[in-house]
C-alpha cells in the first residue's frame, strides 16, 4: 500500500479566480524520494501543504478530492495526528523554530503529545542522531548556522515520528554548505531509514542524482511524472516553463554518440561516460595551450576600494586585512559561505557601519559610516528581502518616496528619471496604482530596484538578488539587471550563493573565506579550482566540476555553461 494517495484533488484559495490545484491524482510509495518541480505559482507549495494536512485544516479554501495516508483519509484526522505520519518542513528555519534551544525544540512535539519522559528522551536522541545534530543538543538555536537550524527543524519533525517528510524549498535561504548539509541528511533519511521524502526544490542540479521520481507541475496540474532519467526527455517543456534542465542531462542530449540514449544525472556518471573519449582528449589538449587571464586595467580609478580593512565585532574578527576594489562598470560577484564576511564587506561600502581599521573609498572619497542618505546618492543597496524596502500604498508613491522625504534643501536634486521612465524601466507601468504587496515577488524586487534608481546611483550593491525565485524568474531578473547595466553603465557588486548567476553575468568573482580574500579573478578561472573552492564552502556548477575532472583537476579555466563546454570538446583544428 502506498504511503500517500492523492485522489482527484482540487484546491482554490479564497477569492482566487482559478484553482491552485486541478484534479491532481498521485500515489507515493513508502521510501520514495520524490522531487516536486515547477515554476513559481504552479501549485507545488499548495500541494505540499495539502499533503501535510495543513490545507484545508489551517489554510482555508475550497478543497475537493481526497488524500489518504495508508488507508486513512487525512480529512478525518486532526492536524497533530497527521503530523505523526506526515511532517512538514518550511523554507525559512527561523520562522519554524519555536524554542530557543535545540533540545527543547526537538522535545516540543512529543511533550505536547504527553508522552512519558523516557519516550521523549528517546525520540529527541534518535531524531538528533538521524539528522547528525547529536553534538548540538545543548546548544542555543541562535548560535547555529542556517543549515544546522534547518536540520533541527527536520529533527523536530522526525520527533513526531513522521514516516513521510514534506519539505518546501528547505534550502532556498541556505548557503551552498548549508544546502549540502540538508540534502545529505535527506539522502540519509531516505536510504538508511527508508523514509518517504517529498521535496519541493529549485536546485534540481544538486538534488537530481538522489531522487527516485520527478513531478513537474504547471498551473495546478502535474505535466510530467517520471523517473529522473526519463523526466527530461521532453526538455522543451522544462525550458518553456522556465525550469532548468540539469546540466548533465543537457550534455547527454547534446552528445548522443557518447551517451547513446542514456541519461546521466551526476558529474560522476557523466565523467565515467566521457573520460576515455576523444572529447576528453580534445579538452586536455585545449587546456594545455590556454592563456592566463588578462590583468585588469588599473589606469581607471576604482569605483570602490577597500584598503587594509579590518572589522571586529566584540572579539570576533569578521574581516581581516581586506584590500580589494571594484572597477567602474564591472559586475563583481562576491561568494563565500554564510558568515564568511561578504555582507559585512558590502555594508562597509554603503556606510552601514565603520571598519575597525582601514579605509573604504568611493573613487577618491572616503566612505563615512552613518552618512547613508548622502552615500546613497552614489551607491545603492538592494536588500535580499525586497519586502523590507517597500513602505507605501502604491507603486507610484514607492518610486517617489525618496524625493518626497528628502530634506527641503536637497529638493533641488531632481530625479534623474521621470516617474514614467522609471515605471517603464522596471516594467510596472500598468501597476502604477497597485499596492506593492499585491505584486509578485519578482515585481516587488523590480520595484525596490526602481525606487533605488530615482537617485541614479553609480554603483549598485545587490544582496542575493535571486533568493527565493525559481530559475526562470531569477534569470529574468538578472537579464533585466544586465540590460539596465548596459544602458546606464552601472557598476554591480553582487553577493550571491547562486553560482549559475555568477557564471552567466559576473565579469569577475571574489571568494571570501574566513574574512579574507581567498580567490579573485574571472569566473572561468576561479571555478577551475574545485577543491580549493570546496574549502571555502563553494560548489561550482556541475559543468565546471566535470570540466575540471576531465582535465585531471589541472584545468586552468573551465566552461561555465553547456554550450561553451561543447565548444571546448571540439578538436582544435576545426576551430576558426
Amino acid at each position: 500500500m502506498p504511503d500517500i494517495r492523492v485522489d482527484n484533488l482540487s484546491f482554490t484559495y479564497p477569492g482566487a479566480s482559478s484553482p491552485a490545484l486541478k484534479k491532481i491524482s498521485l500515489s507515493v510509495p513508502q521510501g520514495e524520494f520524490l522531487l516536486l518541480a515547477g515554476p513559481s505559482g504552479c501549485g507545488k507549495s499548495t500541494l505540499a501543504l495539502a499533503l501535510a494536512g495543513l490545507i484545508p485544516t489551517r489554510i482555508s479554501g475550497s478543497l475537493r478530492g481526497k488524500i489518504y495516508f495508508g488507508d486513512k483519509d487525512t480529512r478525518t484526522l486532526d492536524i497533530h495526528e497527521i503530523a505523526q505520519s506526515i511532517g512538514m518542513v518550511f523554507q525559512n528555519p527561523d520562522e519554524q523554530l519555536i524554542h530557543l534551544d535545540v533540545e527543547a525544540e526537538v522535545a516540543f512535539g512529543p511533550e505536547n503529545l504527553a508522552l512519558p519522559r523516557t519516550e521523549i528522551a528517546h525520540r529527541v536522541e534518535a531524531s538528533l542522531h538521524y539528522t547528525g545534530m547529536d553534538q548540538f543538543r545543548k546548544q542555543e538555536i541562535f548560535a547555529l548556522s542556517g543549515g544546522q537550524k534547518q536540520r533541527i527543524a527536520i529533527a523536530a519533525t522526525l520527533a513526531m515520528q513522521s514516516r513521510v517528510l514534506v519539505l518546501d524549498e528547505p534550502t532556498s535561504d541556505l548557503d551552498p554548505v548549508g544546502t549540502q548539509d540538508v540534502l545529505r541528511v535527506l539522502r540519509t533519511l531516505n536510504t538508511q531509514y527508508h523514509m518517504t521524502i517529498v521535496l519541493v526544490e529549485h536546485k534540481i542540479d544538486e538534488i537530481i542524482p538522489w531522487v527516485d521520481r520527478v513531478l513537474l507541475m504547471d498551473q495546478g496540474r502535474i505535466v510530467i511524472d517520471k523517473p529522473p532519467r526519463q523526466a527530461f526527455s521532453e526538455s522543451a517543456l522544462w525550458h518553456n516553463l522556465g525550469v532548468a534542465v540539469p546540466q548533465m542531462v543537457q550534455l547527454a542530449h547534446a552528445l548522443p554518440d557518447v551517451f547513446q540514449g542514456q541519461t546521466p544525472l551526476s558529474v560522476d556518471e557523466t565523467y565515467e561516460a566521457l573520460h576515455n573519449t576523444h572529447y576528453a582528449q580534445s579538452l586536455l589538449q585545449r587546456n594545455d595551450i590556454l592563456i592566463p587571464p588578462q590583468t585588469p586595467n588599473f589606469s581607471t580609478i576604482p569605483a570602490l576600494s577597500w584598503e587594509r580593512v579590518d572589522l571586529t565585532y566584540d572579539k570576533k574578527q569578521v574581516l581581516k586585512h581586506i584590500t580589494m576594489h571594484v572597477m567602474p562598470q564591472e559586475w563583481l560577484a562576491i561568494v563565500g559561505a554564510n558568515g564568511s564576511g561578504k555582507t559585512s564587506l558590502a555594508s562597509l561600502a554603503m556606510g552601514l557601519q565603520s571598519p575597525t581599521s582601514g579605509v573604504i573609498r568611493h573613487h577618491d572619497k572616503i566612505v563615512e559610516a552613518g552618512q547613508l542618505s548622502r552615500q546613497a546618492q552614489k551607491i545603492a543597496y538592494l536588500f535580499q528581502a525586497a519586502d523590507n524596502m517597500l513602505f507605501t500604498a502604491s507603486v507610484e508613491e514607492e518610486l517617489l518616496f525618496g524625493v518626497k522625504h528628502q530634506k527641503k534643501r536637497q529638493n533641488t536634486a531632481a530625479m534623474h528619471f521621470t516617474l514614467e521612465q522609471l515605471l517603464e524601466i522596471v516594467d510596472l507601468t500598468s501597476y502604477r496604482k497597485s499596492n506593492p504587496f499585491h505584486l509578485s515577488h519578482g515585481q516587488r524586487k523590480r520595484l525596490a530596484l526602481g525606487a533605488l534608481l530615482t537617485r541614479y546611483p553609480e554603483v549598485l550593491i545587490l544582496d542575493e538578488p535571486t533568493t527565493g525565485q525559481d530559475e526562470g524568474h531569477a534569470n529574468a531578473f538578472l537579464q533585466f539587471l544586465q540590460q539596465l547595466r548596459e544602458l546606464n553603465k552601472f557598476t554591480y557588486m553582487m553577493i550571491t550563493h547562486h553560482m549559475d548567476a555568477v557564471a552567466r553575468y559576473a565579469s569577475r568573482m571574489l571568494v571570501i573565506k574566513d574574512g579574507q580574500v581567498f580567490m579573485d579573478g574571472p569566473p572561468e578561472y576561479v571555478f577551475a579550482h574545485v577543491d580549493a573552492l570546496a574549502s571555502a564552502g563553494i560548489l561550482p556548477m556541475p559543468i565546471a566540476q566535470l570540466h575540471s575532472r576531465l582535465c585531471n583537476d589541472r584545468a586552468q579555466r573551465v566552461s561555465l555553461n553547456v554550450k561553451s563546454f561543447l565548444q571546448s570538446l571540439q578538436p582544435l583544428e576545426v576551430l576558426p
Partner: protein, 325 residues
C-alpha cells in the same frame, strides 16, 4: 559673576522660566538618549537573552528562580524604603555569583537605573501635597503654570527615591531570572505552577521574535536612509538642526510600522502552523523532558529566600520596617 547668574536664574521671570523648562525636559530627553547610548539598537536584541555560564545560580531549580522575583517584589511592597534598599543589596548577591559579561552589566545598569531616575524626577515634580510648601526647592514661575505643578519638591524627590528602590529591586530580581534561565526552563516552571500552555508559548514566541523584530527594524531604517530619507544625526553643538532631526526620527514610526507588521504577521503564521503540527494544545496535560530534582544548592537558596520572607514578616509584626508611604 556667580551672584549675577544666581540673580538672573532664580529671581527673574526669564531666568526662572529657563530653569523651569530645563528641569522639566532635561530628564525625559536625556534618559532615552542614555538608554540608547548604553544599550544601542543592537544591544536591545540581547536584552532578555539567556547567557550560559556554569554558575550555581544557573543550576538552581527554575521553579525557585521564577518564584524569586515574585517573592522579592512582593516583599518590597510591604517594607519601608530603608529596608527596600537593604533588599536591593540582597538582590545583588546572585549578580555577584553569576559575574555577567560587561556588555550585560551595561544593559542591566541601564535598565535598572533609567526607570529609577525617571521615577525620582517625575515624583519630584508631581508628588506635592497641600502642606508641602516648605519643601519646594524651586517654584515654577507663572509662565509655566500650564505644567500643573508648583515646582520641584524635596518630599517628592524622596518619595520618588523610595519608589525607585522598589522598581530597582523588581528589575534586578527579574533580570537575573532571564539571564540565568533558559526560556524552556521558565516555561517548564510555569507549567509546574499550573500556568496555561498558551501563555508559555506566547512567552517563548515573544523572546524568540524580539531579536528578529529589532533586526528587521534596523534594516528598515537603513533602507529608508538608502532611499533618501536623511537620518544623519547632527553634531551636539548644531542645536538648530536637532528639532528637525527629532521630527524626522518620529516621522519614521508610521513609515516602518506597516512593513514591520506585515513581516511579523507572515513569520508568526508559519510558526502557528508549526505549533499546530507539533500537537500544541492537543493534550490537556503535556509532559516534559525536563526534570529538576532538588539539590543542596536549591535547598540553600530556598532557605535564603524563606529567611527574607520571615525577616520581613518579623519587621512588619514588630513595626520596625513597615511601609509608611
Amino acid at each position: 559673576m556667580i551672584p549675577a547668574l544666581t540673580q538672573f536664574f532664580f529671581h527673574t521671570l526669564l531666568g526662572r522660566t529657563i530653569v523651569g523648562y530645563f528641569l522639566f525636559f532635561s530628564v525625559p530627553t536625556i534618559l532615552p538618549t542614555v538608554l540608547i547610548l548604553l544599550i544601542g539598537v543592537k544591544g536591545l536584541r540581547h536584552l532578555f537573552s539567556y547567557e550560559p555560564h556554569p554558575t550555581v545560580i544557573h543550576k538552581l531549580d527554575p521553579r525557585l528562580k521564577v518564584l524569586y522575583p515574585f517573592t522579592i517584589g512582593l516583599v518590597s511592597v510591604f517594607l519601608n524604603w530603608n529596608f527596600v534598599f537593604l533588599l536591593l543589596a540582597f538582590t545583588l548577591i546572585p549578580w555577584i555569583l553569576v559575574r555577567p559579561s560587561q556588555r550585560r552589566i551595561r544593559v542591566v545598569l541601564a535598565l535598572v537605573l533609567t526607570p529609577a531616575i525617571g521615577l525620582v524626577w517625575s515624583q519630584g515634580l508631581f508628588y506635592i501635597t497641600k502642606n508641602d510648601a516648605a519643601h519646594v526647592l524651586f517654584y515654577f514661575p507663572p509662565t509655566l503654570s500650564w505644567y500643573g505643578t508648583p515646582g520641584l519638591s524635596s518630599t517628592g524627590l524622596l518619595y520618588g527615591l523610595q519608589q525607585a528602590g522598589r522598581v530597582m529591586v523588581a528589575t534586578s530580581s527579574s533580570l537575573i531570572l532571564l539571564l540565568t534561565t533558559k526560556p524552556s526552563e521558565i516555561i517548564w516552571a510555569f507549567y509546574q505552577f499550573r500556568m496555561p500552555p498558551a501563555v508559555g508559548l506566547a512567552f517563548t514566541a515573544a523572546l524568540r521574535y524580539l531579536p528578529q523584530l529589532i533586526e528587521r527594524m534596523t534594516v528598515l531604517l537603513q533602507v529608508m536612509q538608502i532611499r533618501g530619507y536623511d537620518l544623519t544625526r547632527p553634531r551636539w553643538w548644531q542645536l538648530h538642526l536637532w528639532p528637525n532631526y527629532i521630527a524626522r526620527v518620529f516621522a519614521t514610526i508610521p513609515i516602518v510600522t506597516v512593513p514591520l507588521l506585515i513581516g511579523s504577521l507572515r513569520s508568526t503564521s508559519v510558526m502557528a502552523l508549526v505549533a499546530d503540527a507539533r500537537a500544541f494544545g492537543a493534550k490537556p496535560n503535556p509532559t516534559s523532558l525536563q526534570e529538576h530534582p532538588l539539590t543542596i544548592n536549591d535547598r540553600i537558596a530556598i532557605s535564603a529566600l524563606a529567611s527574607v520572607v520571615l525577616i520581613t514578616l518579623l519587621l512588619i509584626v514588630f513595626h520596625i520596617g513597615n511601609r509608611t508611604a
